[in-house]
């Protein structure tokens, strides 16, 4: 007999008095409209519940019912190209039944329960299966095959199998008998608690890059498959644009895009753009490999807190099938603020700037779910996490940025000054870093060229020297520098404008393959070497700047299509000819 009722209400936090049977983090239904909530605190007197929806109109005395289990995500075919809210409710379905505004208490199944999938069974009677093993597969989208797995933790012998055919996500396909003789029915979909990491066989070393086609990332600060990165930046510096570019072009098999407490129009933009764009590898629409979690800033704050976990659980599920998954979380600061807001309602003792003391441990738990793994079923897969951080007042010393910095290995700091000058991506090359360089060096040497990392090192040295020279220039002006230093300034400008700056709206420039990135570096360095030799002969730098060479090199990114790399030869010739002409003067 279940007679628990609401006792107190304060925003999204509701308490029940005198209940003893609730578990920590159990999912519950609250009130007459059955709002979804989660138990977050239990004491002798009161059980505290965080409700994922607005509580306006709720009265004390309304019923609270437990579900006996934690908050779960439903995992099965139909996730891809869908858009969910923070607790995996399908927004398209909600829109169909209730129009443009989201009502409270809509109780929609996450996946379409009526759609029939053409399923191929992969097991036969008598097979022994353990958790993670694939027992059925069906084409989920044009590019992704969905592999349904035995839920981790379960193993046994197959006692019956349905034939290949069309089935819905809930129809039992396989019956598994465990060691104690109990039968378990397996359907295409199963549930998994969102706050619990899905188990793997082993964590593998990181050695392959996530190729993004963005030059400053791939060449200067690369990220690995299974790695973690943070993009901090004040408003207007292009966090979301960078995330969009990565979601569009990175060579992951599957993208999970979490819009966590961000703008509604941005999610609409992602929906629209991704539907129109095609994946460079497969030529199919980008939506076929993307799932969106949209919990915009005006949607309930508790669901915002959950959205990060929902997203990462979906990512782990596809990793278990053997795919490489990239998770974009925009923005983790909004998630941290949701933590702070709920913590405040619980009257917990605040630590830094009102954030709860458990902020660092929550951030690390999230980022540690990334990795390159050997799955339970023996396949390999990875989850890469790229989290945007929105520091208050663009001040990187605030708690969320600082704590994130401790747990990620790639840091792409966005710079207001660059954004003001409309230099995009506005990633600052002096304060950003990537710890993956050493891990990835063998891959670059083997797959691209032995020359890649040495070139990268030289480019980065020139930028560093420019930063030093800029200190002097700020005080006394550029005119007084000797010619060889002026050349460094010119080459650095060429690198900044010609290489690092990248136009997301240009047909070719929006995605640049690694070989072209290498050749761009090489041609710039070739120019630098030749010009240095010219300067060493005493020829003034104005001769070089007047030759128009730099301007034509700056425009390489637009002039050479990604498919015609042989055109680079013309530039080598132009550099040699023009600079040789100067020699004879």
């Amino acid at each position: 007999m279940d007679k628990n009722t609401v006792y107190s209400i304060n925003g999204p936090v509701v308490t029940v008095r005198g209940a003893r049977q609730f578990e920590m983090q159990e999912m519950v239904f609250v009130g007459n409209s059955r709002l979804i909530g989660e138990v977050i605190n239990i004491s002798d007197e009161r059980t505290t519940i965080q409700v994922y929806e607005g509580t306006t109109g709720m009265r004390p005395g309304e019923p609270v019912t437990g579900t006996g289990g934690p908050l779960c995500a439903t995992l099965g075919p139909g996730i891809l190209s869908n858009i969910f809210d923070g607790i995996e409710r399908p927004l398209k379905e909600i829109a169909k039944t209730s129009g443009a505004f989201i009502p409270e208490g809509s109780d929609m199944p996450a996946l379409d329960v009526e759609k029939k999938w053409p399923v191929t069974l992969k097991v036969k009677e008598g097979d022994r299966l353990k958790g993670g093993d694939v027992f059925a597969a069906c084409p989920e989208t044009s590019i992704i095959e969905h592999r349904s797995m035995v839920p981790p933790g379960l193993d046994g012998t197959v006692v019956s199998v349905r034939p290949d055919g069309d089935y819905t996500v809930l129809e039992p396909l396989v019956v598994l008998r465990d060691a104690r003789g109990a039968d378990h029915e397996l359907a295409l979909a199963h549930k998994w608690p969102i706050r619990q990491t899905r188990p793997v066989a082993e964590r593998l070393p990181i050695e392959r890059p996530l190729i993004t086609g963005q030059r400053i990332i791939d060449t200067l600060f690369p990220i690995a498959k299974g790695g973690t990165a943070a993009i901090p930046g004040g408003f207007g510096t292009g966090k979301t644009m960078t995330q969009h570019q990565l979601a569009k072009w990175s060579d992951a098999d599957i993208i999970v895009y979490i819009g966590c407490g961000e703008r509604g129009n941005e999610m609409t933009q992602v929906l629209k753009e991704f539907g129109e764009l095609t994946d460079p590898k497969s030529g199919k629409p980008l939506t076929d490999r993307t799932v969106l979690i949209a919990n915009t800033s005006n949607m309930p704050v508790a669901a915002r807190e959950a959205s990060i976990y929902t997203g990462i659980t979906l990512a782990e599920y596809y990793r278990d099938m053997g795919y490489h998954v990239a998770v974009m979380a925009d923005s983790t600061s909004r998630w941290a603020e949701a933590l702070r807001e709920i913590s405040g309602r619980l009257e917990e003792m605040p630590a830094e700037e009102g954030f709860p003391a458990y902020l660092p441990s929550r951030i690390s738990q999230f980022y540690e779910r990334a990795g390159y793994m050997e799955n339970l079923n023996g396949t390999e897969g990875s989850v890469t996490i790229i989290g945007a951080v929105s520091p208050q007042g663009a001040d990187f010393s605030e708690p969320v940025t600082q704590n994130t910095k401790r747990f990620v290995r790639c840091f792409w700091a966005l710079d207001k000054a660059l954004a003001y000058a409309r230099h995009y991506p506005a990633i600052n090359w002096t304060s950003s870093y990537s710890e993956y360089l050493d891990d990835l060096a063998p891959w670059y040497a083997k797959n691209i060229s032995r020359d890649f990392l040495p070139c990268r090192q030289r480019i980065s040295t020139v930028l560093l020297e420019e930063a030093k020279l800029n200190e002097i220039v700020k005080l006394i002006g550029e005119d007084v520098l000797p010619d060889d230093q002026k050349l460094i300034m010119e080459v650095a400008r060429l690198i900044r404008v010609g290489l690092l700056q990248q136009n997301a709206y240009h047909r070719d420039d929006t995605y640049v393959p690694l070989p072209k990135q290498l050749m761009m570096m090489q041609v710039i360095l070739h120019f630098y070497d030749k010009a240095s030799a010219v300067i060493a002969k005493g020829i003034p730098i104005s001769e070089i700047t007047d030759s128009g060479l730099i301007d034509s090199l700056v425009k390489i990114k637009y002039e050479i299509p990604n498919a015609h790399l042989e055109l680079f030869d013309n530039y080598y010739k132009e550099i040699d000819d023009k600079l040789a002409g100067l020699n004879q003067l």
Binding site: Y7, S8, I9, N10, T55, T56, G57, M58, R59, P60, G61, L91, K92, I94, A95, G99, A100, F101, G234, F235, G236, G261, R263, G264, N265, T268, Q269, T296, S297, N298, V301, R334, E337, A338, R340, E341, S343, G344, E347, G354, S390, Q392, G393, D395, K416, Y420, A421, R422, H423, V473, K474, I476, G477, E478, D479, V497, Y505, G548, V554, K555
Partner: protein, 468 residues
Amino acid sequence: MLQFVGLSEINGPLVALDRVPKVAFEEMVSLKLDSGETRFGRVVEIDGDRAVIQVFEGTRGLSLENTRTTLLGHPMEMPLSLEVLGRTFNGSGRPIDGLGEIFCERAADINGKPMNPVERVYPRNYINTGISTIDGLATLIRGQKLPIFSGSGMSHNKLAVQMVRQARLSGTDEQNFVIVFAAMGAKNDVADYFRRSFEESGVMERVVMFLNLSNDPIIERILTPRCALTVAEYLAFEHGMHVLVVMTDVTAYCEALREFSSSKGEIPGRKGFPGYLYSDLASLYERAGIIEGSPGSVTQVPILTMPNDDITHPVPDLTGYITEGQIVLDRQLDQTGVYPPVSVLPSLSRLMKDGIGEGFTRADHSDCSNQLFASYARVQDARALASVIGEEELSEVDQKYMYFGRMFEEHFVCQGARENREIGETLDLGWLLLSLLPREELDRVDRETLDKFYRPEQAVQKFGAPKE
């Protein structure tokens, strides 16, 4: 209906009532004083049979014995009908223009509901404001939320009035344009200034005004934008109108929220503002937009004054993270007499890139604005250098930048309060100013575009040249 005699606690704008059975969260209540006065309030917290109520009109004159409280059984609602056009309301949505109550078609919860991102239409059509810095560099798009970041004493109100007066939609929608004005803690003079200028430009019958002046109760201030936006959503999505919502001053709103939060005894976040300030502001700003299946739109221009001109203060900071760009005003420009004193570099419109160019404004729009931003950013470097070594010592190119910067501010940024520039005029002016610079400095633009628009002789003719 049940009536409760007396109160059990009074604290700032909050009162508590014990032994209330079955009260609903955020339910409206009316409090009748013995003097005959009626006030309204809302339930903000329930703990067992104890309810905490915020009183909109303030608690002055309330005692533990002299009130009778009635639960009204519904959340805070705003009466809606087309009659609201041309009317003036107070912060909690009651008419104060002496024309009587409005006959309402229906009433709606002022908190609204979050828009489903699936049902949003991505905003693309621009609104021509006739102001070069906005149209050219931070274009306002229908369905956008674009705040003005200002400071005390600067001409943000003048700018907002000019935007409202000159705002034009393209094509057949021109007639369908209404303005919702919400004053939150605004000074009497400011509210008056807006009203006068609406009357002068003859649009008063297309304006709905919500006035919560700086000496009105702060709880009403928290309701003001919600009432205004409920009306805006009604006009836009049920009657297909294009609604421009001007809200001033968001800083006063946030301070009211802080006052209310601290009287509830909540744990403060940054600068004493409540931890949920971001979510709260988002629940206002996110109500801008366009939805599938309705021709109307809600566009927001919130105005906020940055305390001490500090853009990192929580209010402008959080606002910037939610809104789709910002227009920042600059005190130095204001002091040199430049109107509108728009600080070009930090100003930005995020939706601009998809709402300009061929078919919307002009094909060269994005090239022109990108190059202006890049070149004007260089001007700042040159100025910094000049302040150290003196302008004469600058290189020739830097001198040209200095001159370009000055001309840009005098001719492009600066314009008359009644000057309405066409978008083509704005872009041509931009190209002509860029032509003051050496051609190789214009590295954001490709060759063909430069061939078409780079006119150094004409530039010198119009603006003169820096003296050698």
